[in-house]
Amino acid sequence: MSAPTRASALLLATAASVLVAAAPAFAQTPTAGSWEFTGGIVYVGGFDVGNLTAELTPNTGATGDVTLFETDSRVKPAAGLLAKIGIFLTPAFALEGGLRYTRPVFETDVSDDFENAEDLTATETLSQYLFDATAVWHFRGSGTGRTMPFVYGGGGYWRELHEGNALVDDGLEFHGGGGVKWWFGGSARWGFRAQGGFSVREASESDPEKKRRVLPEASGSLVWVF
């Protein structure tokens, strides 16, 4: 790989893997020094941001708080795209770098208005990017040689844009899980990769609860080894 930037290369690789997925398999499994491109779709779970009340300071004699309205916010689960490039340092151990892009919806239920305004769910769509590095350990040698279970773990940097790129939020991310690679035919150059696990997003300033969020994640991808 030379002139193109890494991002461009990842995108090209993803596109190429989709286009030639049905091509005949080559007799090759990863060895030390092999490179691996991965491109596919990803699902990331959502999380509840919590309830917040618009309160007025009560006058003397009022019983309790005076609520103008109440809100309940959440980030919904979202699907997105991922691309990775990895290198096998040994036949079992690989290091990967990747990019994940998702578009979750942030929504807020508004209710119990003091002046009986209609309840409403207000929404906006976020753009989330994750740049990550991952270590992968493969368990080689299933019955047919076509499957390679693996476990993975790593960390990254996430960056979130609100609509109109109005606001940038960012932070650290850690992830882990397991999966399997299934090679098309014997020991092939092309394969399918399925994995599931968790993604831990460190607390951010924009999170009113300032909580670490643990989100489920799953993905399905095409893999090309060379």
Binding site: L56, A62, A117, E124, G164
Partner: protein, 333 residues
């Protein structure tokens, strides 16, 4: 000729804006060309005198101490640069337009619904405040008790409100009231600058709320305020036509803070500044919790014939910038 350009504004309620004001309602004057200029002090500290008159339960010294605390409450806002200086006790009474800023009691039983009022002398070409007096109506009973006194109005709380006017802020509409014999009673409010005072003994208005802080920061903001806070602008419409005089509140889903603004022109435009970056919920409501003259001139046509409405989108406020082109569509009652 400065003298020729001066104009005395009787009380704050007589002032109105005809152009969008950022965060809050700021006092303004229409200058040459029809442009609205915010009223503000150009030089600090603002020197002020206190009338050397005692009233039952409140000596001039106690009054001065309460007023000084109220000034300091505004000066403590980190994102705004204001300051004041107590210049001494005087025999002069407030509201005389004598070139000195005087705060003190006046017995005005004829103003049976006015606890206190603020007057100005301004340069109407620049909006510069040249003088401002505050009178406290001694027809009511007052207290400076640290914890408040259930039978009397709290000097410091009312002083914080009036000094907000003195610094250039008009009224906020973040509050709910109920009509009772003899006038409106506040149920709850989330701005010291709400035009109807809390009941006797209540000292909640000694502390500024987010709306007050946004307003004073919008007038006298530091560079950090411009850099770290943002705004939302847009318009309110009803059946495709602009709504004038609507009250729009921005609620941060991160902090729970409320900051308000108004649609102030024929396009129904509003601007709410001084907002923390992050997602906000917008709520538009008619101005029905106070006398309209508490906010606008008599000739300002306010549309109150619409239902309270939330904007259907979450609006993300950028740091140091604005989220624009919001349109809140309301329906008639």
């Amino acid at each position: 000729m400065l003298r020729g350009r001066r104009v005395v504004l009787a009380i704050v309620a007589a002032c109105a804006l005809t152009a969008p004001a950022a965060a809050y309602l700021k006092l303004g004057t229409v200058v040459v060309g029809g442009r609205t200029q915010s009223l503000r002090w150009r030089e600090f500290p603002v020197g002020y005198f206190v009338t050397n008159t005692d009233v039952p339960r409140v000596s001039a010294q106690q009054f001065q101490a309460a007023v000084t605390r109220a000034f300091n409450t505004w000066h403590a806002v980190e994102m705004a640069e204001t300051s004041s200086r107590f210049a001494g006790f005087v025999a002069a009474t407030p509201m005389r337009g004598d070139g000195a800023n005087v705060l003190g009691f006046l017995n005005r039983p004829d103003q049976e619904r006015t606890l206190a009022a603020t007057s100005f002398t301004v340069d109407e070409t620049t909006g510069q405040i040249l003088e401002s007096d505050i009178f406290f109506n001694s027809a009511f009973t007052w207290s400076t008790a640290e914890a408040g006194d259930a039978n009397h109005y709290d000097v410091e709380s009312i002083a914080v409100h009036e000094i907000g006017h003195l610094l250039g802020l008009s009224h906020s509409a973040i509050g709910e009231t109920e009509l009772q014999p003899g006038g409106r009673r506040v149920i709850g409010a989330e701005s010291v600058m709400f035009p109807v005072a809390f009941s006797r003994g209540n000292i909640a208005d000694r502390s500024l709320k987010a709306d007050d802080i946004a307003g004073i920061s919008d007038l006298y903001g530091t560079r950090a305020f411009t850099r770290d806070f943002g705004s939302i602008s847009g318009r309110v419409t009803k059946n495709g036509r602009a709504v004038k005089g609507a009250h729009v509140v921005a609620f941060s889903t991160q902090s729970g803070k409320l900051v308000g603004g108004f649609t102030l022109n024929d396009n129904g435009d509003f601007v709410i500044a001084g907002l923390q970056p992050g997602p906000h919920i917008l709520r538009a409501e008619p101005l029905d919790d106070g006398d309209l003259t508490s906010f606008f001139d008599d000739d300002f046509e306010v549309d109150v014939d619409f239902r309270v409405t939330f904007y259907e989108r979450v609006v993300a406020v950028p740091r140091g910038g604005g989220a624009n082109d919001v349109e809140i569509k309301v329906t008639p009652k």
